[in-house]
């Protein structure tokens, strides 16, 4: 099926491959990291940071799901916010790249880790600076948190046309599938009923991501939600859709080699 089989023709595809390798290397080197959602979210972030739609000197990106920071670090390093070598300090003592995203890292606007707060924070930013856009990335599992729904209600009340909420919908959380832990059912319908404009998209397809980001940016009256259907651990066969790869310690050497080989061919 077309979904989840991203066309390799897009110019950003090679970046999707090399940044996946960065993520694998940095997490394996650290012996810690949320690799599943880093690999599910990385294409969303690549599309966002390589699009000319946003100027992140003025527009703001908020990572609400702070645990998937490895993909953000890889994308920020690639975008020149800091040297790529620094990725190897991830989660080390004294590193600017903390285990969950913090404002100590150049390019990171919000210190996160406790789920469910970033969308509310983004509302504050969007209210205070209506001339610029705020893009918030959360996870599907994060929608277990009641605060997310408080924020979804409030964004509609305040007519925040400058707010975009992207959901990395990979269908997994720490202890199982989202369906098993707490069913989200039709998330798009829920956002829609709460007054948002909603688009569901293949979160690994750059053509689609670019189109939908533009459309969402142009929504000037309603807050816009992008539900990016993604695959946990995308690119590494044994990690894909396997919630046990929500987070990892050091991979066994043979698994690391398998993962690296697969990503090199991504």
């Amino acid at each position: 099926m077309a979904l989840f089989s991203a066309p390799k023709t897009h110019p950003l595809h090679s970046k999707a491959r090399s940044l996946r390798l960065d993520i694998l290397e940095m997490i394996n080197h650290a012996g810690f990291g949320h690799i599943g959602s880093a690999l599910s979210s990385v294409d969303i972030l690549i599309a966002l940071y390589n699009s000319e739609l946003f100027n992140f000197k003025k527009d703001r990106f908020v990572l609400s799901a702070g645990h998937l920071c490895a993909s953000l670090y890889a994308v920020l390093a690639d975008a020149g916010y800091f040297d790529k070598q620094e990725l190897f300090t991830f989660a080390q003592f004294n590193s600017r790249l903390q285990g969950h995203a913090t404002i100590n890292t150049p390019g990171v606007n919000y210190s996160a880790g406790s789920l469910g707060q970033g969308l509310s924070y983004s509302i504050g930013l969007a209210l205070g600076d209506p001339k610029h856009h705020v893009v918030c990335l959360s996870s599907d599992g994060e929608h277990n948190e009641g605060q997310v729904w408080e924020a979804i209600m409030a964004a509609n009340k305040f007519h925040l046309g400058n707010l975009i909420s992207i959901v990395d919908y990979n269908g997994c959380q720490i202890g199982g599938t989202t369906q098993e832990i707490m069913p989200l059912e039709e998330l798009a319908g829920k956002y829609l009923r709460f007054g948002w404009t909603v688009t569901t998209v293949d979160g690994h397809n750059f053509y689609e991501l670019e189109r939908v980001l533009k459309k969402s940016k142009d929504s000037s009256i309603y807050p816009a939600c992008i539900i990016a259907k993604t695959v946990l651990g995308k690119g590494v066969s044994f990690m894909e859709n396997n919630y046990q790869y929500h987070d990892i310690k050091k991979l066994a050497p043979d698994l690391f080699i398998t993962a690296k080989n697969e990503l090199q061919k991504y």
Binding site: I103, Y110, S111, S114, I123, L125, L127, G128, Q147, E150
Partner: protein
């Protein structure tokens, strides 16, 4: 409480009026309200500064993180609710979105303590000071009366640190005579040389009863709970060798614990009594005097404690 002729005033009304006055001068002053603005006397603020009054409903977590985000854009943000909801419900949001992210949001928690008598234990927030004084990048203040609130508020508003401001529900005695407030500075309400008395909020005014003059009390208003005025406290204790701490709050985690640690760390010898709620919830009563009596915080309990302190040798 200090005498029958003492004037009473509402700390909450003073807050509403003082914030209105500040907002007239500062076009960047915003209120994020969790549907309790009438109780915080913000009805006039809401009417006059419509675009700067943001109503988020009964959703204190959302309110705290919106306040944090809004402050990034250069606004001075007050987050208003009752203490039993904010900072009680939204403590983890305050911890991450406000403190960890270094945003100088001002959190106003009203209806603190047993003073919210008839509302019952759910609303009688007795843990707020404990919750807030443990947070890095957070200052904690509790005015003794409406007058002190008015001199505190502008100072807190323009401080670049996040702050918690503790207010109470009833009209309380006006005792403050100071004209200015400095963060981290306490002030004397009475001078004496036998017993140091420390506290914050209106409960401390009970110590001003003429009855207690015979005990020669050095009464210090610790309205700046964090940062605490260590120097003034220790200087007084060095003189008296006896210390009574009183607060309308749990003993656990309260000012008393902060002072006990301060004294122990300093190496000074001191007789010490801590009056506060002892590991219990409150309950309803028609007036808070009945509750203060029940929880051993009334003038009767204070007198007993002062006697006990005087019956022992200081510095021994």
């Amino acid at each position: 409480m200090s005498s029958k002729n003492t004037k009473l005033a509402s700390m909450r009304r003073a807050f509403g009026e003082a914030l209105f006055a500040l907002a007239l001068k500062n076009p960047n002053l915003y209120v994020i309200d969790a549907d309790l603005y009438p109780s915080l006397y913000l009805t006039d603020f809401k009417a006059r500064f419509r675009s700067r009054f943001i109503q988020v409903g009964v959703a204190e977590n959302n309110a705290a993180a919106i306040a944090a985000g809004l402050s990034v854009t250069g606004k001075t943000v007050f987050l208003t609710s009752f203490a039993c909801f904010s900072p009680a419900i939204n403590w983890a949001t305050i911890r991450q979105s406000i403190c960890y992210n270094h945003h100088p949001v001002k959190i106003v928690g009203s209806h603190a303590g047993l003073m919210s008598a008839d509302l019952g234990a759910s609303h009688q927030m007795l843990e707020d000071v404990a919750l807030m004084r443990t947070l890095p990048n957070m200052e904690v203040f509790a005015p003794i009366d409406a007058s002190e609130l008015k001199i505190m508020l502008p100072v807190i508003a323009y401080s670049q640190t996040s702050a918690y401001l503790r207010l109470v529900r009833p009209d309380t005695p006006l005792v403050n005579s100071a004209r200015s407030f400095t963060i981290g500075k306490s002030r004397f309400l009475k001078r004496g040389d036998k017993i140091t008395v420390l506290g914050y909020g209106p409960i401390l005014t009970q110590l001003l009863l003429p009855d207690f003059d015979k005990f020669s009390l050095d009464i210090i208003n610790c309205s700046s709970i964090k940062p605490l005025d260590d120097k003034t406290i220790l200087t007084s204790i060095k003189k008296t060798g006896r210390c009574l701490v009183i607060e309308d709050h749990q003993q656990n985690g309260g000012l008393g614990e902060a002072v006990a640690k301060l004294i122990l760390t300093s190496g000074q010898k001191c007789k010490f009594v801590h009056l506060g709620v002892d590991n219990a919830f409150g309950q309803s009563a028609h007036n808070y005097f009945d509750l203060y009596h029940h929880y051993a915080l009334s003038p009767l309990a204070i007198r007993e404690s002062l006697k006990k302190l005087l019956s022992t040798h200081a510095h021994s």
